[in-house]
């Protein structure tokens, strides 16, 4: 995939990652093959923003089949009635059933943080969570952060600080950052933020920019409230 990205001479790389025109360009491209095949992190964020204007419809699976259990999940404010097998993992249900693919599967073993999302406002690893255990819970994923075209301050800060390279860890990083910035128990100095975010591994090593983005978002969120 990256070979294609580099080799196709499409000019994608000549855009300034931070320029609004690039964003508009990708947004008009929407989920076209270009975006789907080569989209880096910021494009996924842009797409997530776009999905928000077309909200996920409430889903109702009807009566559960044998071996399934019915659960209610409120995801990004939309209530779904889902039938799941006992071994269905929250991460997979969100990605495969609700098509909320912004939450990523990295290690699938609780080690990388790519699957981080909020359950009742608390950040957890969704790969180590059974969907049935979360009956009645309120889930927030990366798709639920922006309001319409308006990026969440943390998303905007990641954008501006180029806080990613491949983007695979980015939604998990952002969800952790949102939880940390809303948590008075976690110190605001760089060391505390690094420690609190250490469960989000970035294989591209974008940590410096991630930290800068989180600290910048702190100011924006304070300004907003």
């Amino acid at each position: 995939m990256s070979d294609h990205h580099k080799g196709d001479g499409s000019g994608v790389e000549t855009f300034d990652a931070r320029s609004p025109s690039r964003r508009r360009f990708l947004k008009t491209m929407g989920a076209s093959s270009l975006a789907a095949a080569t989209a880096p992190a910021w494009a996924q964020i842009a797409q997530a923003g776009q999905q928000q204007t077309e909200p996920v419809e409430p889903r109702d699976d009807g009566a559960p089949a044998e071996g399934e259990q019915q659960i209610r999940l409120t995801v990004n404010g939309v209530e779904h009635t889902l039938n799941v097998t006992p071994n269905a993992v929250l991460l997979d249900v969100l990605r495969d059933r609700l098509m909320l693919t912004g939450t990523k599967k990295g290690c699938d073993q609780g080690q990388c943080g790519a699957c981080t999302l909020l359950v009742n406002d608390t950040a957890i690893n969704s790969c180590l969570s059974l969907a049935v255990s979360h009956d009645g819970d309120r889930v927030t994923t990366i798709e639920g952060l922006s309001s319409g075209d308006e990026l969440h301050p943390v998303q905007a800060a990641f954008w501006e600080h180029d806080a990613y390279q491949c983007g695979y860890c980015t939604s998990g990083q952002i969800m952790s950052a949102v939880a940390i910035l809303n948590d008075d128990n976690i110190g605001s100095d760089d060391a505390s933020v690094r420690e609190a975010m250490s469960g989000n591994i970035c294989r591209c090593g974008a940590y410096k920019n991630i930290l800068a983005a989180v600290q910048d978002a702190r100011g924006r969120m304070r300004g907003a409230s």
Binding site: Q69, T85, P86, N87, V89, D108, Q109, G110, G113, T116, T122, A123, I124, N125, L128, S129, L130, V132, S133, D135, S176, A179, I180, N185, I186, R194, E195, A196, M197, S198, G199, N200
Partner: protein, 327 residues
């Protein structure tokens, strides 16, 4: 992930009766150990009993000054509890040194006590491992045994460390584990809860089939004590201990009146170093005293091919912790 039956319990009694004495059943708390190991097919429960809705999420101070922690109190909530931070700093620090923010938000007190070893041969599903497959041998003894293998409490059948940080602090503080089972309720001294591997490394703890941990009760805090947890590892964060120490001391001027020392990362169970404590009590604060106590704590340690460094590292974990606390 393999299939299993799932039941959500609404009461302790219901949890215990749903589990029964079935050795194919498993309680589900935060799931950070259980689901990890089910996914890689190391634990294979046929029945999962979800205990997350039980009313075991509180922390209370008892009349006698002890602190009773519900089995479902998360590692985050326990570390942040104001009484724990004030009276048991060592416990709060140990909890916060473990795993990650997200994992601590899920991980529970009882689940942490019950977590399984991190030995790669246990987790790979193919190597000989007496814990996973009794009688098959121990690949770690002749294999790679640097980071998650012990020098204290090992046997010729298993040398894996108990990985918990929280438990090291609890071993130093002193605690009681309350369990509810098919035969009713009973209490187990924390130091008797985890078992040495000996000839039966597959037996890791003192629970009888079906028993559910309902509480962990900490001994009343030592008056005027100071305490701290020092964790030494390959990187500054998010790693299991190579060696760690939990230390509690009370001083009268420069004299050590009381001392409690426990070690992590070096033992096959949370390791209370009683002899080292004796070597500290009544002594003047001095580097020589700390060093002597540290040597005593690691006396009888057995090094393996790659982990001999844990003997001096464990000693340093004690000396440095004591030095900081008494400074």
């Amino acid at each position: 992930m393999r299939e299993f039956n799932y039941a959500r319990a609404d009461s302790t009694r219901q949890a215990v009766s749903t589990h029964g004495r079935n050795d194919q059943a498993a309680y589900l708390a935060g799931g950070t150990t259980l689901l990890d190991l089910v996914k890689i097919d190391i634990m294979r429960p046929e029945q999962v009993v979800d205990i997350n809705r039980l009313d075991l999420g509180g922390i209370e101070t008892l009349d006698d000054g002890r602190v009773r922690i519900g089995a479902l109190v998360t590692n985050t909530a326990l570390a942040r509890d104001e009484r724990i931070q004030r009276d048991y700093a060592v416990l709060s620090e140990a909890l916060l040194s473990g795993a990650t923010t997200q994992l601590r938000n899920k991980a529970t007190t009882a689940g942490n006590v019950m977590q399984r070893v991190r030995c790669p041969y246990f987790r790979d599903g193919v190597s000989s491992c007496n814990k996973r497959e009794p009688g098959s041998g121990c690949a770690a003894i002749e294999g790679h045994n640097r980071s998650v293998h012990a020098v204290l409490g090992t046997s010729e059948h298993c040398i894996a460390t108990h990985p918990s940080d929280m438990c090291v602090a609890m071993a130093a503080i002193g605690a009681t584990i309350t369990v509810e089972g098919p035969d009713g309720r009973r209490e187990i001294d924390f130091l008797d809860f985890h078992l040495l591997p000996n000839d039966t490394p597959e037996r890791e703890h003192n629970l009888k089939p079906g028993e559910l941990i309902t509480h962990v009760t900490l001994a009343a805090p030592l008056e005027n004590s100071r305490s701290g947890y020092l964790k030494l590892r390959d990187r500054a964060s998010y790693q299991f201990a190579l060696a760690s120490s939990a230390v509690i001391v009370t001083l009268d001027g420069d004299t050590i009146v009381e001392a409690r020392v426990a070690l992590g990362g070096v033992g096959t169970k949370p390791w209370r170093a009683f002899d080292a404590e004796k070597a500290l009590k009544g002594q003047q604060i001095s580097e020589a005293t700390f060093k002597r106590a540290a040597e005593i704590a690691l006396q009888g340690a057995t090094p393996y091919a790659h982990n001999a460094f844990k003997i001096p590292l464990g000693q340093q974990a004690i000396v440095r912790n004591l030095t900081t606390l008494t400074a």
